[in-house]
Symmetry: C2
Subunit: 349 residues, 2 copies
């Protein structure tokens, strides 16, 4: 299989590494760092132009930032062979699917993988291992070409999931882009309310809710813009909900507020249950003295029994002497985990 | 010093324990669990009525849920001696300050302390150690009585901070109540967008942003209602911000969106810097294989060198084989911590 990588960075480089080593593919790539990609074993050849990389390609993967993706895709479709499947890795799909028009060669793609570190230096053969990789074919997409991209994605170690482009963008707007917008809103209002005063130690809710506030402005401006339509729709839903809650507060509607809070609890439970990877997870709450080593004790105690912690958050008390640890373990190991922690003398909820 | 505790639960019991052991106070309490409070050493005597507990009291602390707090306070002020300072521990101050009218004996209070577990059984002498304890005197509050409450709070181990009741409620609305409202909004929209589909593993932003969604409906309905006015004001600010962002998206204003994202980044930095307890903290990002024991290795490595982890969050990759750990350490230990982690073979950002 001949693979063309248009844009050699973390994602493009990782696709190249995995395609070469796992599928024995011949991989040619473009981009400023393509020569480095060759040195690192991610590419067989660095090409000066997309046309050169695309000659004889079975699959082309466009790894450009979302803001330039539609334009780059048009160039690639113009240069790609008649029977070459073309896909991309952008985090929103509406604009790029529109740019492809009715071209049967294009299948939108979005791997849910990445790292804190960008650049081809950090490319890894196993970056996509077990990751969801959305594919967004439309009515005009060629069946053979979709099947080829599906096979490539599986071969890279990912789990392809076929989804309508609009449903994809709405999901991303709801679970990723809107949370970023609301984190910004919270950060601005807290900064306004405090006016430089010390933030009160009110527990984890505020810190958790604003962890992504102001995330990389260069990248996130592009993501917001690329998913404008879906994000505006989610903002309108959020505005409607906030107006409703405002009404409940205005009329001091105790039953209405309690019912709304209860629905949110149900929504969260449903999301947690639906999202647990590798079976349902359970949350355990543990009160601990907040001294160096206490997290280690806890984690080691579970590790010795083969219990993995799938998620963990530590919230220190105001003076830093105590903390509350929320940890998630597999549901079928939760009871044993709780017993082990209790035996260490830590109260578990 | 004679102290009356009106309502013997986690907070009232902890005040009793600390007042008796640290200040040698004589403590009488009311409430269904007051007899248990005596058994646990939190009270000298359990009283059937507030009047009995208040006889001869120097300070009365009203520990009632926020929704009944104004009514209970009025009864306490009616029964308390002429020279008895009366305070409370409610998480919002507007309604209770209004209920006290111009009574010079009342000083509103709000300790930022608590635990995952309620009830006098879980009362601890050190619950307030190092915690901020807001006091909200008004123009009519008697100076001697304020000083007495201030001294009590300091004696319990807390750090009293005097703040205007309205400023207190606005701060709580911005940093605690609004985050809960927005978490509910996000949970509802994600549940709507996914419709029972598996939640994509998109990283920590969504999970962090919704951790408090639907928190204890009984308690939170009371908190929303008690802080209605300030919360409505924060909702209006949030609505205005969301309308602004919607406008930037509608007109596809790249510069406006980038500037807004950048302001959020500045707000978050300012909040983190202002909020670091015990000196500034630094965040380290570590990429780890997500196997049992890896958190233990990391924490132990730091613990052996006397470096405490003040905050920690683990985000597993989609397949659970890798994870990203964000951990906070004291700024002056950050460089050494990073070097120790790097020496373990984990990439640190």
């Amino acid at each position: 299989m001949n693979v063309a990588i248009i844009g050699t960075g973390l994602i493009g480089g990782s696709i190249g590494l995995a395609a070469r080593r796992r599928l024995g593919a011949h991989v040619r790539g473009t981009g400023r760092r393509a020569p480095r990609g060759v040195e690192l074993g991610a590419l067989d050849a660095a090409c000066a132009t997309p046309g050169e990389a695309l000659a004889g390609a079975d699959v082309a993967v466009v790894c450009a930032p979302v803001d330039v993706l539609p334009a780059v895709l048009e160039d690639v479709l113009a240069a790609a062979p008649e029977d070459c499947a073309v896909t991309d890795v952008g985090s929103t799909k509406g604009a790029v699917v529109a740019a492809a028009g009715a071209d049967p060669r294009f299948v939108g793609g979005h791997p849910l993988a990445g790292a804190e570190v960008a650049g081809v230096e950090h490319a890894r053969e196993d970056l996509f291992e077990g990751a969801t990789w959305y594919l967004t074919p439309v009515a005009t997409t060629g069946g053979t070409l979709l099947e080829r991209v599906h096979r490539l994605v599986t071969g890279l170690g990912a789990r392809p999931e076929i989804i309508d482009p609009d449903a994809h963008d709405r999901t991303m707007a709801a679970v990723s882009h809107l949370p970023h917008v609301l984190a910004n809103v919270l950060a601005a209002q807290a900064a306004g309310a405090l006016g430089g005063e010390r933030m009160p130690a009110i527990g984890p809710s505020f810190r958790d809710a604003t962890r992504v506030a102001g995330a990389n402005p260069g990248i996130w401006t592009g993501i917001y813009r690329a998913n404008r339509e879906a994000l505006i729709a989610e903002l309108d839903r959020a505005l409607a909900q906030l107006h409703d809650v405002r009404g409940l507060l205005e009329t001091d509607d105790a039953d209405g507020l309690a019912a709304w809070q209860e629905r949110a609890a149900q929504d969260r439970r449903a999301l947690l249950e639906a999202s647990a990877a590798g079976g349902p997870a359970r949350e355990l709450g543990v009160a601990v003295p907040n001294r160096p080593g206490v997290i280690a004790d806890l984690a080691l105690t579970l590790a010795r029994e083969g219990i993995g912690i799938t998620d963990l958050s530590l919230t220190p008390s105001a003076d830093g002497t105590r903390g509350h640890v929320a940890l998630w373990v597999r549901a079928d190991q939760a009871e044993r985990a709780a017993a082990l922690i209790a035996a260490q003398g830590f109260p578990v909820a």
